[in-house]
Symmetry: C2
Subunit: 528 residues, 2 copies
């Protein structure tokens, strides 16, 4: 391992003093873990500032303040990057490891520090900057070109992004000892590997298309009334907040606001979630709020003693997504939750309910919350068709990173796979096809799989939870979430990043992540 | 001047190379001002983050997030302090000065950098920390002890604060070459000196008590109806925002929110003002909003090219206060503004106006906005009695810093001076006497005079403005603020910290700061 001048000097001095050598070195070693803790504590607090400025930018900041805020954030991010990649950390890691005697939390903390440092120092500075510029350009162009359905103009920009991303993946691959695609994946879900994911995705690819046909056939015989609005924003906000309280959101350490794109931000002691309201449709915002509340409860219940350290932060993206999907899909779209919800809708929207009471019965509301439709757009998809959108993207992006697919061929491959998976053609409609997501334009490759890993994890956790707590479904109906939250706190939330993801899933559910719980869940909810 | 090891080394190397000496040193010199600019740009952006976290804490943050936010702010402030006091700045200042060739803005920028650096590096670190701890303790105790009217318990805490503040003033005095009290004053209003202030305050001390008697005698013959509420918060907010727009607040670069203590925060590109509403009284919040809008317009119109540099920031506290008082006192409590306001009140509060129309006539509203009352509490005082509160505090605090008054004797002196100035006794009522303000508890000595300097400056600026723009009063009546704002932009706002305060006042008004404009204003408004 490399030494920095200052530690080299310290060591040389110690050595020169002969007899004092081991005592001094021992002292340095005992100091290493404490020094690392202090370093990461400052880093956490700079990220606190970054998170709040980012939240403010999306929710509160007036339009004209944008350029100066961008400068302030860039400076802050520069300081964060400097600290996160500080060369002297390498010696401290080595010294702390050599010392030994760390308890499991401290050891995991050191592992997480090293993981992030290694990643962030693997990519040459000029490559980071070139990629960042290209991604920023292509993302900005995408905002215009997508609406114009203009693939021809977007293609060269995406080609540059993919080419730089392949270089980045190579650089990470060389340092981390992973395949290029795994090196990208690992950035979003530490420990996730294509070799483990691919078989699960193959099972979904085989099971979902026929399952979706059976669901659609069943639902074609049902009538669903769309509840007629208007649903005043203030009443929607009240309803969302009321349900947040009931499912266990801690209002002394969080807020609900409005932003164009809903998100969960802030810090664990102050979780800021957002939504967007449509006065003609209460369901989208309500389920969106419940989704973000799932993320928020995870953040609010991370281990208090380690909040400022890497080990105290949430495990990867798929575990985070599992918590939002467990809240939204497993709990809030369940028949039991809909029965809890129905009387609250009467309180929130008395006029709308009086006008069309049949649209607000639990039966109709449940059919509404579980409607399945084969459609083009991923973000609007239901839980049965959503994985098809992800499978398609996973297959395309791994071929791009492997160099087996050219950017120019994406539209054809997209159309072909969309026909296979959902029977829809996107020929000539790139706006609703391969140009619909911002992810690739912004350089996010290896991110899409975490959505479906999250859905599988949510189903498997909820299955284990209901086996451990047989009364859980009744609890939901009664609006009693103490037991459910207690189980999640014990098996997921309070663990932070102590365990690697596969181990977390194994300990919580008794088995490796699989598709069985998810497919069983779909069959029960949509076919029984 | 001291050299840091790195610049000493650079210079030694340059010297060793003989012939290259002057060329290398010239290069270093040309770089110095640019290096300073870059340094202060980063500092500004860290302060941007600090300002926004502070605003968020006061307006948005949930209660339970406080401790972690305090940690994040402390870390951020630590980084800011480190950069603001960096020892290498001293050499850069010297090199940039030696280079010469700076334009007036650059020269003023360098002067402001040096001023702040010299101040911040004058006080020994252990004294800063001891004072900070003592002030924090005494401020927290004050919150409880003031309500309990418990001077006996508060006294020892204040004694410690005063003793450490005297030490601080001595340290500043030695380095800045100012008397101890001036050294404190200079921290709030650069260039302000007791020798210049004392004669103005003597004039007010002689003129105000008899003037107040005449005003009270006149007002005792008038009837004022207090407009009866309720005034719904949403309508009060609408009215405040409407008037903010009319007087020239730029909503693309600012916001209005609610906080317990009203303030003007944020950054020049994003000014965040706050207020607090009382449904039984619209006037307090409305005039408070106008006051903060005065601060905000100053910030929003600082010189765009220098916003990230010390010279681009607002001049001292008294100039800042002059802008809020010019807006609130000179403009918004004028007869002309009240005529603009009256019809808007009908729009804002139709029910209240319909119930008691006589309370909403321009005549009655004007009498309400210009009511004078001798009372105990400074923050509730009108513009005629307010300077009496400040004179008292100025006389007490200069005697404390000079060592001519013991903390134990404050209540007696307070009572005595309050009787002289306003004919009120505070004997046994320290809650409404010497314990009413947080300032001394928090270690703010030398701050109070800036309130009255601000009032004098506001009157003198408005006098010059109305002489230059004879139609200004009609403009106010018509809600036309382009001319007034243009004059203020030219003579105050766009100058940032280019000029020292006395020079700014002299150039804008043609004379040194005096009491004539303020006393004339009071006579006209309250006695004609």
């Amino acid at each position: 391992m490399r030494s920095t001048p200052s530690t080299r000097r310290l060591r040389r001095d110690a050595s020169a003093r002969g007899a004092h050598f081991s005592r001094v070195l021992g002292y340095l070693r005992r100091m290493s873990y404490a020094a690392l803790q202090a370093h990461y504590r400052t880093l956490f607090q700079l990220r606190h500032a970054e998170a709040m400025l980012g939240w403010d930018e999306a929710t509160m900041m007036p339009a004209g303040a944008g350029p100066a805020r961008a400068e302030a954030l860039a400076t802050l991010r520069g300081l964060i990057h400097e600290r996160a990649t500080a060369p002297e950390l390498e010696d401290l890691f080595a010294a702390a490891e050599a010392e030994g005697g760390l308890d499991p939390w401290q050891a995991a903390n050191l592992r997480e520090m090293k993981r992030a440092w290694l990643r962030e120092t693997s990519i040459p500075r000029d490559l980071v900057e070139a990629a960042s510029r290209a991604e920023s350009q292509s993302e900005q162009a995408w905002r215009v070109l997508r609406s114009a359905n203009d693939w021809r103009s977007f293609r060269p920009l995406l080609e540059t992004v993919v080419s730089l991303k392949r270089e980045t993946a190579q650089a990470l691959s060389a340092r981390l000892g992973l395949s290029p695609y795994d090196a990208l994946l690992d950035g979003y879900e530490p420990g996730a590997r294509r070799a483990a994911i691919a078989p699960l995705f193959e099972e979904l690819r085989a099971a979902l298309p026929p399952l979706i046909e059976r669901i659609l056939e069943k639902q074609s015989r049902e009538t669903v009334l769309v509840p007629p609005g208007p649903f005043p924003v203030e009443r929607q906000r009240w309803l969302g907040a009321e349900l947040m309280s009931r499912v266990g959101f801690d209002w002394t350490r969080g807020r609900l606001d409005v932003s164009h794109h809903p998100f969960c931000g802030g810090v664990p002691t102050d979780v800021r979630i957002t939504t967007r309201y449509d006065e003609e449709d209460f369901q989208t915002a309500l389920m969106g709020v419940m989704h973000e509340t799932g993320h928020a409860k995870y953040e609010q219940n991370l281990p208090a003693a380690f909040l400022e350290q890497p080990v105290g932060s949430a495990r990867g993206m798929s575990v985070h997504e599992s918590q939002s999907l467990l809240q939204e899909m497993q709990i809030c779209r369940s028949r039991e939750f809909i029965e809890l919800l129905a009387p609250l809708l009467e309180q929130a929207f008395p006029r709308a309910v009086a006008r069309e009471p049949r649209a607000f019965t639990p039966d109709n509301l449940y059919r509404l919350a579980t409607r399945v439709k084969k459609d083009f757009i991923r973000v609007d998809a239901d839980e049965a068709t959503y994985p098809c959108h992800v499978l398609l993207r996973f297959e395309v992006e791994e071929a791009l990173i492997d160099g087996k697919l050219r950017v120019a061929d994406i539209p054809d491959v997209w159309d072909e796979k969309m026909q296979e998976l959902l029977g829809l053609s996107t020929r000539g409609n790139d706006r609703d096809g391969c140009m619909q997501d911002v992810h690739w334009a912004a350089g996010l490759f290896g991110y899409f799989p975490t959505y479906t890993l999250g859905a599988l994890t949510a189903a498997q956790l909820f299955q284990a939870l209901t086996q451990a707590l047989p009364g859980a479904r009744d609890d939901i109906r009664r609006g009693e979430f103490g037991g459910i939250n207690g189980w999640l706190r014990e098996h997921v939330w309070s663990l932070g990043s102590l365990l690697e993801t596969p181990e977390l899933v194994r300990r919580a559910t008794g088995k490796d992540l699989g598709t069985e719980a998810f497919l069983t869940h779909l069959e029960r909810r949509y076919l029984e």
